[in-house]
Subunit: 222 residues, 2 copies
Amino acid sequence: MLVRVNTNTSPECVPTELTTLVGETSLWHQFRYRRGTEVFGEAEPADYVYQLREGAVRTYKLLVDGRRQIGAFHLPGDIFGLENGDVHRFTADAIIDSTVWLARRESLFRGLTEVAATLKLVNKSLEHVQNHLLLLGRQTSLERTAAFLLEMDRRLEQPALMHLPMSRRDIADYLGLTLETVSRTLSIFRQEGILSILGQRYREIVLHDRPKLARIARSCEF
Amino acid sequence: MLVRVNTNTSPECVPTELTTLVGETSLWHQFRYRRGTEVFGEAEPADYVYQLREGAVRTYKLLVDGRRQIGAFHLPGDIFGLENGDVHRFTADAIIDSTVWLARRESLFRGLTEVAATLKLVNKSLEHVQNHLLLLGRQTSLERTAAFLLEMDRRLEQPALMHLPMSRRDIADYLGLTLETVSRTLSIFRQEGILSILGQRYREIVLHDRPKLARIARSCEF
DNA sequence: CGACTCCTTGACAGCGTTCAACAGTAGTGG
DNA sequence: CCACTACTGTTGAACGCTGTCAAGGAGTCG
């Protein structure tokens, strides 16, 4: 049987969005990051803009004692590391081996076209982080986990089989939970028949009941 | 004895920032909102930009069952309601009787000067919400409350007596806690000699030990 | 005066964390 | 190749932080 599976690779072969953003004349380079290596660090100068070609990247903040809050996961096609200010406010590193295109940021803000594109992108990340506030401040573990699954499902274009690149700890640090709670919640969903967990590392998920998941994400009504 | 107290009024008499933002030729109007009335609603067209003259405003999102997450408190001088997109993503209403200046947003994006000012402001709110993520996802009630007090202290320019315009419930909905937890945490700080709670409605706070509060906000070491 | 709001405080419950054990997998180096 | 270690994920048990429920006081307003 043939099923559609997310391949973790962007369909396009040229970084079109990145090109329109930084201008036609700009140079972009391809770069590979090994699993776990840092793409950029918090408070470092934001000299480059990145577009993910293959793999997965997380951006996060750390507390002194090691507590971590992941702000976003970046999937193939996503542009990240684009700051209004001149320094990065998150650390970014590769969750799995990843390929990115990067271009110098200095070419930005030269014309209104690029500014409009920049605003659109900043807007997108602002909207994401604003929605995440509500999740972190006011939602239960069931709601958070359901919301995470639906977000990934949507961004991977609802594959029959969803391969998650990130660990349970990554998910937990994204949702403001512990990895045990995430694991338990996924087990509950499995027992309820909402999803199946496959793969040797339990990172392949098949969603059986998206509407039910959506109801849980909104108000926690079982 | 004379002490400096925050007066809840902006020092300037003209909305200079707002004028530079929307252009010299733009018209702005003054408007009053009674305590509890809505300035704008989530998903409404973002046709106006606001600057608070006097009072206090909260911006928030609601869940269907009434749970609320306040994204920000706005104090005199603050510009708010400025969106990149064309609709508001939070509801805004007056915490106490408030006076705002408002100007049509359409005059924005006409030139690079206004765009730069806009970017700067959007950047500021993005930074605030990104820091709030870490607070909501990974900090304890003590850390959150300490962070709140220090934020207000800083924004009111460290008054000897800090008059909070918002209720315990507002603080709780900002910090992702319940009002009881906020009340208890403030009592702990009072018992520890970190602050005093004054006033008939317990909304006047004197900070005695800002360094200790700062230590708590960062890592919860008592 | 009565109704309402706001804040504090106590008692208790529960959700999520912490601690722990175990199993399976990946990675490494002999 | 295998042995060894590190990592990842699941699950159970107990704890504790925070939420829930409740009572009471004080201020506000009509």
